[in-house]
Structures are given as structure tokens and as C-alpha cells.
């Protein structure tokens, strides 16, 4: 760090490195990005762990998330209050899970959360419809959407309750060739 202003103590950085998939430099850069989002809200000095949160509207405008059809869901599922306000801890957490170093299992857990729009711990038909509409920008006709959702549930539903539990989802997603490259 040298004579630069200290943002984190060494212990904090070490702790973050233990808890995430990032290196020291990346954590500092993340803080920079976080600070950029709301310079008036976020202090530069994090050594005494200030309590501040950045609202959803600012976070989803990051270029990394801006084009993502699920941006709101991503931010919401990582926020503690479920409304999308992220503290720095949660911010780091989000990027750690989204980083390429994170293992498949972890990604599957959070992917399930992201696709679970109504937070009932099941992917039901409405969730799938919402997912599909976001993926295709609502260019499919309602009948087509219906068909695709039914097919998807039929394929992946193992216990026959016509909605996908996490076990179903995990079973399906871990075999996908495109999931995590």
C-alpha cells in the first residue's frame, strides 16, 4: 500500500482473501468500483467497517450488469434485505460468486436463487415464464412461452410436483455443457 491512503487494513484484506476468490489487488479494485458508484455515500476509509449501502438502481447500472436481463434479480438475491441494497461485503460476495474461480456448486446455488423470482424456494411456472420473457425480450407468443415452460418443467422435474426444487435444478444444471463453460 505504501504511502497511499489506506482503505483496508492488512487483516481486512487477508480476511477478504480468505472469504472470496479474489486477490488483494482485485479487492482494492472492487472497492474502487464500489466507491465510484456512489462517491458521496461510500467512504474511502474502510478500516473501521462503516455501515453503508448502495441502492439497487445504482448497482444495476454498472456496465458488468447493465445488459444482463437478470440484473435486478442478481443484486436482489445477494442483498441481505432482499431489496437490492448492497453493502460492500455483499458487493464483494456477489462478484466473488460470479467470478470464474467460483466452483460449480456455489454457482448453482446462487443461480437457483436468481431464477427464483418469487423467493418461494421453488422454480414454479411463473418463475420460468419470467425468465423466458427476460431472455427473449418478450418476443415469443404466450403459447410458445407456455409450451417451453411446460417442456422445461417436464424435463427437469424429478419428483413430479410440477415445479423445480433445488435438487431438480442442481441435477439439471450440473450436466449442462454451457453452465460455467
Amino acid at each position: 500500500m505504501g504511502n497511499k491512503q489506506t482503505i483496508f487494513t492488512d487483516e481486512q484484506l487477508d480476511a477478504y482473501q480468505d472469504c472470496t476468490f479474489f486477490t488483494r489487488k482485485e479487492i482494492l479494485r472492487l472497492h474502487g468500483r464500489y466507491h465510484e458508484l456512489a462517491p458521496h455515500l461510500v467512504p474511502m476509509d474502510y478500516t473501521n467497517e462503516p455501515d453503508c449501502k448502495v441502492p439497487l438502481a445504482l448497482i444495476v447500472n454498472m456496465p458488468e450488469l447493465k445488459e444482463n436481463p437478470f440484473r435486478n434479480r442478481i443484486v436482489e438475491s445477494f442483498s441481505e434485505d432482499g431489496m437490492g441494497n448492497l453493502s460492500f461485503n455483499e458487493f464483494v460476495d456477489m462478484f466473488s460468486v460470479l467470478s470464474e474461480m467460483a466452483p460449480r456448486e456455489l454457482k448453482a446455488i446462487y443461480a437457483f436463487k436468481i431464477y427464483d423470482f418469487n423467493v418461494d424456494n421453488y422454480l414454479c411456472k411463473e418463475d420460468l415464464e419470467k425468465t423466458l420473457n427476460r431472455l427473449t425480450k418478450e418476443e415469443l407468443t404466450p403459447e410458445e412461452v407456455q409450451l417451453v415452460c411446460e417442456k422445461a418443467i417436464e424435463e427437469a422435474d424429478l419428483d413430479g410436483d410440477s415445479k423445480l426444487s433445488f435438487a431438480d435444478f442442481e441435477n439439471m444444471i450440473t450436466r449442462a455443457p454451457d453452465f460455467l463453460r
Binding site: 487477508d14 480468505d18 472469504c19 472470496t20 476468490f21 486477490t23 488483494r24 489487488k25 456496465p63 458488468e64 447493465k66 445488459e67 444482463n68 436481463p69 441481505e80 432482499g82 461485503n89 455483499e90 464483494v92 460476495d93 466473488s96 460468486v97 467460483a102 456455489l106 446455488i109 446462487y110 443461480a111 436463487k113 431464477y115 418469487n118 423467493v119 418461494d120 424456494n121 421453488y122 414454479c124 425468465t131 423466458l132 431472455l135 427473449t136 425480450k137 418476443e139 415469443l140 410458445e144 417451453v148 417442456k151 422445461a152 424435463e155 427437469a156 422435474d157 424429478l158 419428483d159 413430479g160 410436483d161 435438487a167 450436466r175 449442462a176 455443457p177 454451457d178 453452465f179 463453460r181
Partner: protein, 889 residues
């Protein structure tokens, strides 16, 4: 009914299993606590006070634990579901983190307390307790290591981390006794230092990966398929860097520093006839003149066995580096392939077509609006295609047409390949004729015809193939592989025609060499005679080395050819990049203001980044490096330079003048496809190199192996002169066919065995998969049947109630209303929402009431009882909703 019941039942079973474990644990902890209490009693007063406080705390916690016991047990086993996680997360916002009932933390708290008490006198611990403590420390350490993979919120992770670090710090030193303790402490300290070093090293390593930011930026603009090219390019750069280090450090530098300097012997001097033009740029550009007589090429190296004060074995080193280059490349490529294969694993079955499309088709790396739009469009079309396929899965009305078109396309491609092959052969033949007549009489084009034709073919044929492949109507990923395969065949054909032509030339040179050799002996004899007659005692007059006649040195010629090829290839790549991408983009951009149609959206538009072509270009370039590196040690250096420049140039070109692909698709798995092609190229390019090394005798007056019969004789020579006699004996025994053949046989057998086992594994895998699938289907069917049965039951019951109702109806209308009201009220109280039912139904017979809700209620209550607000109604709503609807239909 069964549907509803199934779930809690299954859960109950699980819970029972999990219950046992914590029960045992609690017994143990209670025991320990007793011990410690006794101990405490013996201790001083102030400590007692402290202990009391702690006890109180523990009691509080205990009470709390009792309350949330059920839930804890559920979580205690390794089976933590996301559902529970989510609940937990919500709960955590309300309860203090430190005293949370999260299983691990709570248990650890307990342990910590215990050890806090015992800390005062670690010696007084019984070995059993010590063992426990050790275990706890070990557990903590493991927890810290696996912390980053835990799906907990960051706050909790940080707290857990701090706690367990403190714990470990405190009690690690207390373990071990007497003498062992010191050693233990030392060990702990060293391991801490080691961890720190490792972390720093990791940080350093990631900082050393070049172009990471650039590639990430491209990834976000163009999706992962374009980025995969750049990652591949970087990987190649790494390999070439190592090859360059090998040749540079072990061949070029020693020769330049310790070998005889330039101009001392004929092979290190520019001949008199060429000396005048040796410094001309045109000659140097062609790698003639001074460039030819330098460390860059094979011919410059001397055949002196050991050079310099280090006694560096130059010829041996040259040979070993040549072999090592190839061996290293094989190793790296195969290792990478194996790793990729492991990663990709299974995933060929098509059973989750729609779900995969839905959940994994978005490329989370995209951050550019245009790319995102393209991606949306491509996802939509892919869904539409899938729907179409699903709807008419057996549409074979125009399959004949498709087949015909595909055959036609392949025929056309074959024609192209044959034509290009013939063209190259023709050009090479013609250039040989020109070469015999002397290069100076011809124009620039005639001199560089071969390279130019090869480059032009490599440029235009892929475009042609692209047009042809439009006929075939494949999925883009399949189409890409076909396209790659075709371009591969084209390049390969070209390369091999080139090599065959080169072989012809080598043979010509060798004929020439024979004549020159004869002439030289004549010349030497005449020289000797002349000097002998003049002055019989003095040595022969020393000639300037530039005047000594010399052979054609075919090795240098081969090296030069390859270097020229690489240079021209690089040039054409860069020029096409500049013209085809940059100029086009500029024209489209600025002519658009004064043009009669929209250039940006219409015909020329901007170019897309051609992943397949670029990857193949890279692969073939590498193939040429491998082929020529033995005869021109400068090739890896040149290639490193080229890759470095093209990294920057292409990054720039992609970002400034390309548009994202229209059909963006992810590059999953195709990496191994590239690798497979690289392996094939590696094999095919080492083949001719090895052939020339093994079969053709080296030139008599140039290169490190001059004067030997074959190049590999250098090994034997070293064995004979540098190693003790017994070693060469052993070696000769080991290398006789009687030993080598059985060894090869053994290896073949081993390969066969491994292959057959892997095959059987694969079969078993497929079998298991099938079993799983059938089981799933069975399950589904069963569930469906059960649901159907329940429904029919319901129907019957309803019919029964309806008849009963009709009887009652007239009798007590008033009464019915009251009852209905009551029923409504109760269900409202229960559900928090009015039942979505038909009004005129009354008096549900108790027989039809499902036992499901009853078993469900307490469960949900108990497991959710700890939950504040939030998740409760959300959790219950769907279930409650379903039960009544099932009953009433």
C-alpha cells in the same frame, strides 16, 4: 393426497437420521461440561465469577437452542438446502450474528467457551480432551480453508473467519507438551509463514498474467467465443516463450558468445561473390547475406564438440534442444487436452434441451448493448427452432433437398481443395525453374510467388467455404466445426504440397553438393600441388575464408524457406487486418454520410471477427514453427514477436472496427477442438522434420553435425567419449532390438489395457445414466398415477357429498348458511386468505379430508416457527393453496 403427504414424510425420514448425530454430540458435550464444572469449583473465586457469567450465557443459549432445536437438527447434517439457507439469511438479519443458531457457529461457540475455561491450565486437560481440542482446531482450519466456497453472506463469513482464526491462534500453541510443544509452535509458525508466502505468490502470479484486462474487455463486448481466441493466443504465446527460452538460452547465446567469431571459418563468412550485396536491405529482408551467415540459421553452427571454457557441447545441445522442443510441445498439448476433457465431462445427452436453453443460454460476460441485442435475438431464434422441432419432430419433407445440398457443398469444397493443391504444386515447380535460372533475372512477384499464392489461398478459400457452408443449413456450432475442418484440410494440403516441393529441392541441392564436394577435393588437391611445387616446407597459403568454395547447405535453405513463409504469412495477416477490417470500417463509417444506401446496415457493413479463421491461422503458424525450428533456431523468437504484435493489433482492431457476431454463441467445449487440431498439426509437422533428421545425411561443410553420417550420431559420440565405458555398454545393451521390442510390446499392451478399462467405465457410466433416467420416468409415472387416483377419489367423494347435500339441502338451509360462515372464518384464520372455493358446497365429509395438511402443519410451524414474518406466508401459501383445491375438485 399422496402428493401432499410424500414431501413431509420423506423429510421426516431424513430428520430421524440426522437426529442421532447431534444427540450423541450433546451427550458428549454435557459430559465434558461436567468435568469442567468440577474443575471450576476448585479454582479461585474471581474465576468462579467469570464462570458464572459464562454459565448464565450458556444457559441462555441452551434455552434458545431448545427452542430452535428441531430446525437445528435439520440443518446439522450436511444436507443444507438452499431453502434453509434463504430462511437463515432472513433470520440472521434479526438475530445477532454472534449468537445465531447456525449450526457450525453455535457448536463452535460452545467449543470455544469450553476451551476458554480450560485454557487456564492446559496441562490439566486429559489426553482425551486434548484430542478433542486438536480436532476442534483442525476443524476450524478446514473451515477457514473452505470458507470461500460457502454460500453464506459475507458478513457471516467474516465473523466465522475471525472467530475461528482467534480460536486457532489461542489454542494451537497449547497443544503438545513439554518439548513437543516448542516444536509444535515452531511448526505452526512456519506453516503460517508458508501460508503468507503462498498468498503473496498467488497475488504475484495473477499479476503476472498478461493482457487479462484486455481480454476481459473484449469478452464483455463480444461474448466468450471471441475471447476464447484471445485466450488461446495468450496460451500459444506462453508456449512459444518457453520454446524461445530453450533455443535462445541453450543454442543461440552459447554459440554467439563462446563459439568461434564471425569470419574465422568458411561457414561463418559471407562468400566473396555475395559480399557486395550482403548488407542490402532487400537481401536481408529475404534472410540472405549477413542474416544467413549468423546464429539465426543452422549453417552457421560449428561442429566443434565442445566450445568455450565451459566445454559446452554445442552439437549435442543443438540436437537435444530440437528434440526437447517437440517433446515439450507434445507434453503441453496433451496435458491441456486431458485437463479440458476432465472439465467438460459428460453432457452430451439431450434430455434437458429446454431447461438448458432456458437457464444457461445467457452469456453472463456480455456487457455491450449491441452484443446483448444480438444475444437476445439468437436466443429467441434458438427457442423458436426448438419449438418447431418439438412440434414436428419428424419433418422429412425436404430432408432430401438438405442432403443433396450438403453433398453438393462437400463436392464443391473438395474441388476447391484439389484446385488449390494443384495451384501450389504448379507454382512451386515454376519457382524451382526460376531458381535454376537465377533469381536476379525475375521480378519481385516471380520470386515470391509461392508464399504469396499460399497466403492468398489461405485468405480467399475460407471465404469461399463460408459461402458454400450457407448451403448446408447446420447449427452454427456444427457449422463452425465443419468450417474449421475444411480450412484445416486446405491449409494442411497447402503445407504438405509445400513440403513435398521442398523435398524435391533438398534432393536437388544434394546432387549439387555431391558435385561441389568433388570439385572441392579437386581444388584442394590442385592447391596443394601448387603450393607444394613452390614451397615444399611451408604450410599451404591460408586463404581468406570467404574465398573457400562451399556446398549449398540444404538445411539453411530449408530454414530460410520457413522463415520467409512465416514473414509473408504475418505480413498478409496484418495487411488483411488493416485493409479488410480497418479500411473497411473507415470507409463504411465516413462514406455513409454521402452514399445512396445505408452502408452500415446494408451491404458492406462492418466486418465480424472471424474466430475460426484466426484460430486456424494461429495453429498453422505454430505448425510451421515446429517444422522449421530445427533448421532455423530464430523461428521461436520470430513467432514470439509476431504473437506479441498480433495480440495488440488484433485487440485494437477488434475493439475499434469489428461488430459482434450476429449469432453469438458460447465457445464451450470448442477449446478442446482447437487443441485436437493443434495436436494433429504438431504430429504432422514433426513428421517431416523427423524424417529429414533421420534419413538425410547432414551437409558436409555446414551446421553442427557436419562430417557425421546422420544427425543423431551425436548422441552416440557423446556416449562414447563423455560417459564411462560401462554406461555406453549398458546403453548399447538397452538399445538392442531384443530389449526394445518387448518394451514396445509391453507399452502397447498397457495402452490396450487402459483403453479397454476406460471403455468399460464409459459403458458403465452410460448404463447408470440410463437407469437413472428410467427411474425418473418411473417416478414421474407413479406420481401421476397417484395424483390421478386421488382425483378420482375426490370425484367420488364429491358425488357422495352432493347426494348427501341434496338430501340435507331442503331440510336445513338456515343451518347450512351458518356453518358455511363458520367454515369460511376458520379457514380464513388459518390461511390468512379466503379459500378459493365454490360457495354452495358444504359439510365436507371427514373421510375426504387429507391427512396431508395435518402432518404438514406442525412441520411447517416448527421449522418456520423461528422465522420472523417475511418468509412465513410466502412459504406456506402455495402449499395451503394446493391442498384445498385438491380437495374440492
Amino acid at each position: 393426497m399422496k402428493k401432499g403427504r410424500r414431501d413431509p414424510e420423506a423429510k421426516g425420514g431424513e430428520r430421524e437420521e440426522e437426529e442421532e448425530q447431534p444427540e450423541m454430540k450433546r451427550c458428549k458435550t454435557a459430559k465434558r461440561r461436567k468435568n469442567i464444572k468440577n474443575e471450576n469449583a476448585r479454582k479461585m473465586e474471581e474465576e468462579e465469577e467469570e464462570a458464572e457469567v459464562r454459565n448464565a450465557k450458556r444457559k441462555k443459549k441452551h434455552a434458545k437452542r431448545e427452542k430452535g432445536e428441531r430446525e437445528e437438527r435439520e440443518e446439522d447434517g450436511g444436507k443444507r438446502r438452499v431453502k434453509e439457507k434463504a430462511r437463515e439469511g432472513r433470520r440472521r438479519t434479526h438475530t445477532r450474528v454472534e449468537t445465531s443458531s447456525e449450526p457450525e457457529t453455535s457448536e463452535e461457540d460452545e467449543l470455544e467457551e469450553e476451551s476458554e475455561e480450560s485454557e487456564v491450565r492446559p496441562e490439566s486437560l486429559s489426553p482425551e480432551e486434548l484430542e478433542m481440542l486438536k480436532e476442534a482446531v483442525y476443524e476450524r482450519k478446514k473451515l477457514v480453508q473452505g470458507l470461500r466456497g460457502k454460500p453464506w453472506p459475507m458478513k457471516e463469513k467474516l465473523v466465522t473467519l475471525r472467530e475461528s482464526q482467534e480460536f486457532v491462534e489461542k489454542y494451537e500453541g497449547a497443544l503438545g507438551k513439554g518439548k513437543g510443544r516448542k516444536i509444535y509452535a515452531y511448526k505452526v509458525m512456519m506453516s503460517k509463514k508458508w501460508m503468507k508466502f503462498q498468498r503473496d505468490f498467488e497475488n504475484f502470479k495473477t499479476a503476472c498474467i498478461p493482457w487479462e484486462m484486455k481480454i476481459k474487455e473484449i469478452e464483455s463486448h463480444f461474448g466468450s467465443s471471441v475471447a476464447s481466441y484471445f485466450i488461446f493466443l495468450r496460451w500459444m504465446y506462453g508456449i512459444n516463450m518457453i520454446l524461445f527460452c530453450l533455443t535462445f538460452g541453450l543454442v543461440m547465446v552459447p554459440e554467439a558468445l563462446m563459439g568461434r567469431p564471425y569470419g574465422t571459418i568458411p561457414r561463418k563468412t559471407v562468400p566473396r561473390a555475395e559480399a557486395a550485396s550482403a548488407m542490402d536491405f532487400a537481401v536481408l529482408w529475404d534472410f540472405g547475406g549477413y542474416a544467413q551467415y549468423s546464429v539465426l540459421f543452422y549453417g552457421y553452427y560449428n561442429n566443434q564438440r565442445a566450445i568455450g571454457w565451459l566445454k559446452f557441447r554445442m552439437p549435442l545441445s543443438y540436437f537435444l534442444v530440437g528434440v526437447g522442443t517437440v517433446a515439450y510441445s507434445y507434453m503441453v498439448v496433451i496435458r491441456t487436452m486431458a485437463r479440458n476433457a476432465n472439465e467438460s465431462g459428460v453432457g452430451d445427452d439431450n434430455s434437458f434441451n429446454f431447461s438448458w436453453k432456458m437457464f444457461t443460454s445467457w452469456d453472463y460476460l456480455i456487457g455491450n448493448p449491441e452484443t446483448a441485442d444480438n444475444k437476445f435475438a439468437s436466443i429467441t431464434t434458438s427457442f423458436k427452432e426448438a419449438i418447431l422441432e418439438e412440434q414436428e419432430s419428424c419433418k422429412d419433407d425436404n430432408i432430401h433437398l438438405t442432403r443433396f445440398l450438403r453433398v453438393l457443398a462437400n463436392f464443391l469444397v473438395l474441388c476447391c481443395l484439389a484446385g488449390s493443391g494443384y495451384l501450389i504444386y504448379f507454382v512451386v515447380r515454376r519457382s524451382q525453374k526460376f531458381a535454376l535460372e537465377g533469381l536476379e533475372t525475375h521480378t519481385w512477384w516471380e520470386r515470391n510467388e509461392v508464399n504469396m499464392v499460399m497466403s492468398l489461398l489461405g485468405m480467399f478459400c475460407p471465404m469461399l467455404f463460408d459461402v458454400i457452408s450457407a448451403l448446408e443449413n447446420y447449427h452454427p456450432r456444427v457449422a463452425l466445426q465443419w468450417q474449421l475442418g475444411r480450412i484445416f484440410a486446405l491449409f494442411l494440403g497447402n503445407l504438405y504440397t509445400f513440403i513435398i516441393a521442398l523435398m524435391d529441392e533438398i534432393n536437388l541441392k544434394r546432387e549439387e553438393e555431391k558435385i561441389i564436394k568433388f570439385n572441392i577435393t579437386m581444388w584442394e588437391a590442385s592447391l596443394y600441388n601448387a603450393t607444394g611445387s613452390e614451397n615444399s616446407t611451408a604450410l599451404p597459403v591460408t586463404f581468406h575464408p570467404a574465398d573457400v568454395p562451399r556446398g549449398p547447405c540444404w538445411e539453411t535453405m530449408v530454414g530460410q524457406e520457413f522463415v520467409r513463409l512465416i514473414i509473408s504469412d504475418t505480413m498478409t495477416t496484418y495487411i488483411t487486418l488493416l485493409i479488410g477490417d480497418f479500411l473497411r470500417a473507415v470507409l463504411v463509417r465516413f462514406l455513409n454520410y454521402c452514399w445512396c444506401w445505408d452502408l452500415e446496415a446494408g451491404f458492406p457493413s462492418y466486418s465480424e471477427f472471424d474466430v475460426s479463421g484466426n484460430v486456424l491461422g494461429l495453429i498453422f503458424n505454430q505448425g510451421m514453427i515446429w517444422m522449421g525450428a530445427f533448421y532455423a533456431p530464430c523461428l521461436p523468437a520470430l513467432n514470439v514477436l509476431r504473437l506479441h504484435v498480433s495480440m495488440y493489433l488484433q485487440c485494437w482492431a477488434v475493439m475499434c472496427c469489428n461488430v459482434p457476431q450476429e449469432r453469438v454463441f458460447k465457445a464451450s467445449g470448442s477449446n478442446n477442438f482447437y487443441m485436437a487440431m493443434l495436436l494433429v498439426i504438431l504430429f504432422l509437422s514433426t513428421l517431416p522434420a523427423i524424417y529429414t533428421i533421420v534419413t538425410i545425411p547432414p551437409s558436409f561443410d555446414c551446421g553442427p553435425f557436419s562430417g557425421k553420417k546422420r544427425m543423431f550420431d551425436v548422441i552416440q559420440e557423446t556416449l562414447e567419449s563423455d560417459f564411462p565405458a560401462w554406461f555406453s555398454k549398458v546403453f548399447s545393451y538397452a538399445s538392442n532390438p531384443g530389449l526394445v521390442l518387448p518394451f514396445i510390446l509391453l507399452m502397447v499392451l498397457a495402452i490396450y489395457y487402459l483403453q479397454s478399462t476406460s471403455k468399460s467405465y464409459k459403458e458403465a457410466n452410460v448404463d447408470l445414466k440410463k437407469k437413472l433416467q428410467t427411474q425418473n420416468e418411473e417416478n414421474k409415472r407413479k406420481n401421476k398415477l397417484a395424483a390421478l387416483k386421488a382425483q378420482t377419489d375426490l370425484e367420488e367423494a364429491r358425488a357422495a357429498t352432493q347426494t348427501a347435500e341434496q338430501k340435507n339441502n331442503n331440510a336445513s338451509l338456515q343451518h347450512q348458511h351458518a356453518e358455511e360462515e363458520e367454515d369460511l372464518g376458520s379457514s380464513q384464520r388459518k390461511n390468512g386468505r379466503p379459500p378459493p372455493s365454490v360457495r354452495h358446497q358444504d359439510g365436507r365429509p371427514p373421510a375426504t379430508r387429507a391427512p396431508a395438511p395435518r402432518t404438514l402443519h406442525p412441520d411447517t410451524h416448527r421449522s418456520l416457527g423461528y422465522l420472523p414474518g417475511g418468509g412465513f406466508p410466502q412459504q406456506r401459501e402455495p402449499r395451503m393453496h394446493r391442498v384445498p383445491s385438491l380437495q374440492r375438485h
